[in-house]
Structure formats: structure tokens, C-alpha cells
Symmetry: C2
């Protein structure tokens, strides 16, 4: 299984490393980080760089596509190189997936029209505007399209898809090896659970950023 992990400037690191560390442990995985150009690609703060070992053009037909989100997603929404590659890759992929605002890129490429999908909680309205049917679930599967909520949800997405492809036992072995028995010290990981003033503050900032 060739797994294409897409990078672009100002991506969010955990969006792509979560699926990499889970789904990437498929028994016969060939995981490759791709970008428009090879070499280091910086995340939104500029303090982390992951290496793209191949260009998008080098791998037009992966079996699995994984698209992260992050503040840099908005600059990619009219990038024909990335959107054309997504459409080409999707035409033959077994699974097309995203984490966080990566689903907005799938939608911009026309791949989520009328499909159930999700994204970062701050991006669900935009996801709907782009033609998808947002749901409140953390991981949403509609046919071969698997989209996950914000940032850390890519770990749950990766394990879910791993179980679908390689079987429950293999997915459980990866969960045990990565000791994924989460114990968040707070219970503020969704807008339904977090203190209301924090949710409102982020919504306001988000509107400001998009204006």
C-alpha cells in the first residue's frame, strides 16, 4: 500500500504525524511525504520542518491519500498543482483521507460534493459552503472518503482506517505499541465540552482571521 502524506507550507504537524504513526504501520505500507517540491516544508509557526522526499508529480497514483490541515490550507485553496494532483490521485485511490482543514482542500478539489464529512470544529460552516455535509463525529467515513476533526483526531482516524484495512487485531497491536490510552488532564477538547468563553473567543478570532 503506497500511502501519500501531503505537505504544504504552514501545515499543522500533528495533523499528519498522527495518521503517519498509526495508519503508517500497515504491514506492507510504503509511506511517502510529498509536496510540490522536495525538501523541508515548514509548519505554521516555522519552527518545525518535515522533509518531503518526493514531489506530488512523482507519485500520481498512491493507494491512500492523507491531507493535513493547518493555517496554510487557505493559501492552497486555489493552487491548481495541488488540487489537480488531488483529483488525479483520487481517481485511482483506495482511500482519500484528511485531518482538520485538510477536508476543505478535498472539498475545493470537488471530491466531497454531497458527502458526509468533517473538519476542525471552526471550519464546519466553510466545509458546508464547499458542498459537503458536515457531521459532528470525530471520524467520518463516506465510501472511500475518511475525514477527521481537528489536529489530534488524525490518530483516531489512522487507527480506524488501519482496522478497516488490516483487521482489528493489527490495529489493536498498533494502539498498544503506541500506548494510545489517552488521559487528557482536562475535558475541554470539543466546543461542547470546553468552557463557553474559550469557545467564543476562538470563534471571534477565527472570524477575524477569515475577514
Amino acid at each position: 500500500m503506497r500511502i501519500a502524506l501531503v505537505l504544504f507550507d504552514r501545515f499543522t504537524a500533528l495533523d499528519i504525524v498522527g495518521p503517519y504513526e498509526t495508519l503508517g504501520r500497515l504491514p506492507d505500507a510504503e509511506t511517502v511525504f510529498l509536496a510540490e517540491r522536495t525538501g523541508p516544508v515548514r509548519n505554521e509557526s516555522g519552527t518545525l520542518a518535515l522533509t518531503a522526499d518526493r514531489t506530488l508529480a512523482d507519485m500520481p497514483h498512491p493507494d491512500i491519500v492523507v491531507v493535513p490541515g493547518g493555517p496554510g490550507q487557505s493559501a492552497q485553496m486555489d493552487n491548481p498543482v495541488l488540487l489537480d494532483w488531488l483529483r488525479t490521485a483520487d481517481a485511482t485511490s483506495s482511500w482519500t483521507t484528511s485531518v482538520c482543514t485538510g477536508s476543505l482542500l478535498l472539498a475545493a478539489a470537488g471530491l466531497l460534493e454531497g458527502r458526509r464529512a468533517t473538519s476542525h470544529w471552526l471550519a464546519l460552516t466553510e466545509l458546508k459552503r464547499l458542498g459537503a455535509e458536515p457531521t459532528g463525529e470525530r471520524v467520518v467515513t463516506d465510501g472511500k472518503y475518511v475525514t477527521a476533526a481537528g489536529v489530534s483526531s488524525g490518530i483516531d482516524m489512522g487507527l480506524t482506517l488501519l482496522g478497516r484495512i488490516a483487521g482489528e487485531e493489527h490495529a489493536q497491536a498498533v494502539q498498544l505499541m503506541t500506548e494510545y490510552d489517552p488521559r487528557p488532564p482536562y475535558d475541554a477538547g470539543s466546543p461542547e465540552k470546553a468552557p463557553a468563553h474559550l469557545v467564543e473567543r476562538m470563534r471571534t478570532r477565527s472570524r477575524f482571521l477569515q475577514a
Copy 2:
């Protein structure tokens, strides 16, 4: 706060990206990936490379030290460059932390003698042999030493320490922004919860690898 994120050959990516994406969102964080040499550092499978932007020598006195684990940890256990740097950095750090088998490196540097600490569940016996007092908790704080269990536990460690340093509200805001509301599709993330035959298989492999 200068946060030093240590890299070495054959580290595990999620070990370091988990704390990076949580603790790294401290309001005044200056996060820097360090290694013996600058440039790309490959993880255990060789398919992922994170860039070290500075050498260990460039930053002898960070405020927070974060040491990941991974299969490459064993080759570092007698690396004087890394162990000396750990001792020097620890002499002035506010917090010295690790994820997964990174705690074995802290112990090898003599920093965990008689201290309560943890590591990947397969490494707890070795941690004890090195002089620490292993506990079954996912995140263990003993003075300024904060150690986390395997791979994914660095997210819980990062949020815990973030709350300690920047306050509960800031940590909750980061939890909400990273949508850390985990929903693992299986409940197999610890040796107590996973199917017994999977636990036994991994223990056997682990003994074989260490022999």
C-alpha cells in the same frame, strides 16, 4: 521559555510531535529542534525526517528539555555528546521531560536516580535497572522531572505541563484548538487493556530485540 526538542537517529516521530504541538503552544515559547548536527534526522523507519535547526552545542541552557524515545534510543545510551548535553542542560533547566524510552536516556545521564518516573510499558524493567522508580501512571511528575509513557502519551504530558506553567485556561484553550477529545476505536492502549496474546507477543519480540 526556550523549549529544546531533542532529535537523534531512529527516534519515534509522535513522541516529539505530541509535546511540540501542545507544550510548544506556550504563550512565549521559543521551540527549537536540536540534534548533534543540524539538518534532517530520520525516524526509525527512515520514511520521516524532521529538521534539527540547531546543534545541541548551540543551546546548552534551554528552559525545558524534551527527549523522545524510539528504537534509536539504545544506540544513544553511551553517546557522551548527548548524555553530557543532558546533564548540562538539566543543571539549569526549569523542567526536564521525556516521552517513551526517552526516560532511559535521562536515567543513563544519571538524572532519574531514585525518582518516580515512567517509560514505554515494555521499558519499565530497564528503567528500574537504571535506578528510577517506575510507576504505572501515564504522566509522572517528580520535582522538575516529567516523564510520559509510550509514544502518544506525550500529548497528555504536554498538556499537563502546559497547565502547570501557563495555567489551566491556557491548557484548555490548546486542548480545544487541537480538538483533543480522543475516541480510540479500540480499547487496547495499555497492557492491562489489550488482548493478552498481543501483550505476550510484544514482550517476546522485545526480549528478542534486547538479547
